[in-house]
Structure formats: structure tokens, C-alpha cells
């Protein structure tokens, strides 16, 4: 099947290369609502309308309104919004502009690729160059102990039990007394170091894959983009519980996949579902001993 034939076939179905990333974006807004009060109601209403009203998904007005809401959320709450809020604004703006051109697919693909590459480039810059405590492993050790969202992996991979975690948290909170020393097992140190190393490797790799002009230099290597992003999402978000950010990345990733690579679109949907599963199922608890009683 040629590219045009595949595009025509896709346009008729739900794997339309323009509509799929738009649907993934709106679904993310429904699965993980953002903002609060009237702002949240506005996001939810527009997301539902975009998904159910025929033809509205491709109307730039819908996306301009979402861009306005996202921008208002960042400005009104500055400097507190997290990075997800900014990325949502950039992506909605890119979609708005793309839908006003005669070639939305090309513009979505370009913007999806560049936004992903830049997000990972800045994230890698912070971790590897600007941060004082990422490379040493201190950040990951601290986070696995203090951030309760990481408790499952701290117990499963780090071998911590609830009492050890409580003691470590008390120490880090300064409540353990002046002479106390935090003693962490070799297993915990190895697990957090591996996690540090994996993040330090995969983030620059995704940045390079998406920012380098691979299609011109080595067309056969373009698949590295999808592979690196999907592997990143499937591994990192199994541990780091920020599904809204992951779904945005996946929507942008799907946007840069050419229409004739349907299998890759399925790959993006599969990982999108996997992130939902990570969110809904405490998978680490399957492997941990149950509390008595």
C-alpha cells in the first residue's frame, strides 16, 4: 500500500494520522483533569466536545480555546504550575496553528518532533549539567525515600521495608537526632544508582533522536525516535507517577509518525494504555508481601 493509499485509508478510520494525536491529547485531559474550578470545567467541557461532536476535533477554534485556557492557567498561577502545564500550552498552540494550514499533518509532525526533542534536551541539561545532586545519586536516593509515590519501587527494587522507610524519612526530616546516621543497604544504593544511570542515558538519547535531522542523514534511523520515546515512557513512568505528562509526550510522538506506519501508531496507543495501567494498578504490590491481618 502506498503512502497516499495508506493515508486515505487512515483518514477514514480512527487511526487518522492527524486525528489520532488530537484524540490522545483530549483523552489525556479527561483521564487526568488539569486546573481547578472553572478552568478545570472549561478543559473538561472542551475535551468532551472535541471527542464527541463530529468535525469539532479538527476545528482550530477548539484548540485556540484550549491554548487560551492553558496559557491562562500558567500565567494566573505563575510560578507554581508544573512543566506539564507549559507543555500542554505549547502543544495546543501547535495544533491550533497546524489546523489553520493546508498541511496539518506535516506541521503537527514537525512540532511534535521538536517539542519532544526540546523537552528532553532541557530535562537532560538540568539533570546532567545544572543540578548539583543528580549525578551523585543523592537525588534518586532522597526521592525514593521521601516521595511516597516511589514507596512501591523503594520496597520492591530497593529492599526497603515500611519500618526502614519510616526511619529514613525521620532522619531526612531532621527528626532522628544530631548524631544519627542514615544507613542504606547495598541493594537500595545499586537500585537507585541504576535508576539514575538509566535516566541519564535515555533522556539525552531521546533528545538527540528527535532533534537530529535523521530523515536527511540516515532515513533508516528514524525508527530510533519512536523506539527511544516508547522505551522511555514504558520504563520511566512505571516508576515515576506522572501520567499526564507521559500521555502528552505520546500524543506528540504519535503526531510525528507518518501515516503509512500504522503499526507504530498502535505502538503509541499500546504504551498510552500501559501508562493508564501503571496509574490504576499498583503493580509493585503484586510482588510485595502483604501486611499481616
Amino acid at each position: 500500500m502506498g503512502v497516499d493509499a495508506a493515508n486515505r485509508a487512515d483518514r477514514a478510520g480512527w487511526l487518522d494520522p492527524v486525528e489520532l494525536p488530537l484524540r490522545m491529547t483530549l483523552a489525556a485531559l479527561l483521564l487526568r483533569p488539569v486546573g481547578s474550578g472553572p478552568l478545570r470545567a472549561g478543559f473538561l467541557t472542551l475535551a468532551v466536545l472535541g471527542l464527541v461532536v463530529p468535525g469539532l476535533l479538527r476545528r482550530s477554534t477548539l484548540w485556540a480555546l484550549l491554548t487560551a485556557l492553558a496559557a491562562f492557567r500558567v500565567i494566573e498561577d505563575w510560578p507554581l504550575p508544573d512543566n506539564h502545564a507549559y507543555l500542554l500550552g505549547y502543544w495546543c498552540l501547535a495544533i491550533t496553528l497546524a489546523l489553520r494550514t493546508g498541511e496539518p499533518q506535516a506541521m503537527l509532525a514537525l512540532n511534535g518532533r521538536l517539542l519532544i526533542g526540546l523537552v528532553f534536551a532541557f530535562a537532560a541539561l538540568w539533570k546532567l549539567v545544572l543540578s548539583p545532586d543528580f549525578w551523585s545519586g543523592d537525588f534518586m536516593r532522597f526521592t525514593w525515600i521521601v516521595d511516597e509515590r516511589f514507596e512501591g519501587v523503594a520496597r520492591l527494587f530497593g529492599g526497603m521495608d515500611p519500618a526502614m522507610l519510616d526511619n529514613a524519612r525521620a532522619f531526612l526530616a531532621g527528626a532522628a537526632g544530631g548524631d544519627s546516621v542514615l544507613t542504606l543497604s547495598g541493594r537500595f544504593l545499586r537500585a537507585t544508582w541504576l535508576s539514575t544511570l538509566w535516566t541519564a542515558l535515555i533522556e539525552p538519547m531521546v533528545a538527540l533522536a528527535f532533534l537530529l535531522p535523521l530523515a536527511r542523514v540516515r532515513p533508516a534511523w528514524v525508527g530510533v525516535r519512536d523506539a527511544s520515546l516508547l522505551v522511555f515512557c514504558a520504563t520511566v513512568y512505571a516508576v515515576a507517577p506522572v501520567p499526564g505528562f507521559a500521555w502528552l509526550l505520546l500524543a506528540m510522538g504519535a503526531a510525528q509518525v507518518p501515516g503509512d506506519r500504522r503499526r507504530m501508531h498502535f505502538g503509541y496507543l499500546l504504551v498510552y494504555g500501559l501508562i493508564l495501567a501503571y496509574q490504576e494498578i499498583q503493580w509493585t504490590s503484586w510482588f510485595l508481601p502483604r501486611a499481616p491481618g
Partner: protein
């Protein structure tokens, strides 16, 4: 498409602009690396929970340490994550005005921003005073 060509890169350019500004603010004005659109999340221990404010209210012959009032909590969080001197002073002045409305004898509010740093390797907490400002009655004017 040609008409739209200049707009092709608006969103990525905006990302670069904001993220670069975030790095400048984090470096020069102590903005929390986690915030501000620079994608510094999950990069450093220095998040908002590692910074806290300590407030003292002076009246003649008495200094009281107070908690951040409930209606000032949101403002206090914004000050903690971007603790420039002017933002700290504005916060201190507003707090002084609030305290003087409750207790007319209040003469001064002193505000300290403390940061929890971590000893490399051991993660032992090391508290350090990062900023200190105060607001006095004559700062309020009127």
C-alpha cells in the same frame, strides 16, 4: 502553507524562550528548578518542600514566632519558590499590615527563608538561612 510558514516554529521557539528564562531565573534569582517551565523536574532535591519560611512579629518588649496565616499560605508558597528580595519584602509588608490590624502595637515583621540542603553522600539535613528581610511600621506609610 507558505503563508503559515513563519508560524511553523512558534510553539518550539516559545518553549526555548521560556525554558532559557527559567534557567536564568533559577541561577540568578533562586527560582526552584522544578518550576518555571524549564523542565528541571526530577533533577534535584531542591524542590519547594525543601524551603520554608520562619516569621517573627515584634511588639514593644516581645518577639513572637508565628505560623504562616492560612490566608497567606498560597502567597508564601509563591515566595518560597522564587524568593527574590522584593517578593520577600512585599510579603513581609503585607503580613505586617495584617498583624497591625489585629494588634495595633506590632512594630516589625521579620521573615527568614531557610533552605534544607543535604550533605553529599549521607543526605544529612543541613539547614541554612538563605534570606532575611524585615518590614517596619514606617514602611507601610500612611
Amino acid at each position: 502553507m507558505r503563508r503559515w510558514r513563519p508560524l511553523r516554529l512558534v510553539a518550539p521557539a516559545l518553549l526555548v524562550l521560556v525554558a532559557s528564562l527559567q534557567i536564568v531565573l533559577a541561577t540568578l534569582a533562586d527560582l526552584s528548578p522544578w518550576l518555571g517551565g524549564g523542565f528541571g523536574m526530577f533533577a534535584t532535591i531542591d524542590s519547594r518542600s525543601e524551603r520554608h519560611l520562619v516569621l517573627y512579629v515584634d511588639s514593644p518588649g516581645l518577639t513572637r514566632q508565628i505560623r504562616v496565616p492560612e490566608d497567606f499560605e498560597d502567597w508564601a508558597t509563591r515566595v518560597r519558590v522564587l524568593p527574590t528580595r522584593s517578593r520577600l519584602r512585599a510579603f513581609a509588608k503585607a503580613l505586617l499590615a495584617r498583624e497591625r490590624a489585629r494588634i495595633p502595637g506590632v512594630t516589625r515583621v521579620r521573615l527568614e527563608l531557610w533552605r534544607n540542603r543535604r550533605a553529599p553522600g549521607t543526605l544529612a539535613p543541613i539547614e541554612s538561612l538563605a534570606r532575611e528581610v524585615h518590614a517596619e511600621a514606617h514602611d507601610l506609610g500612611g
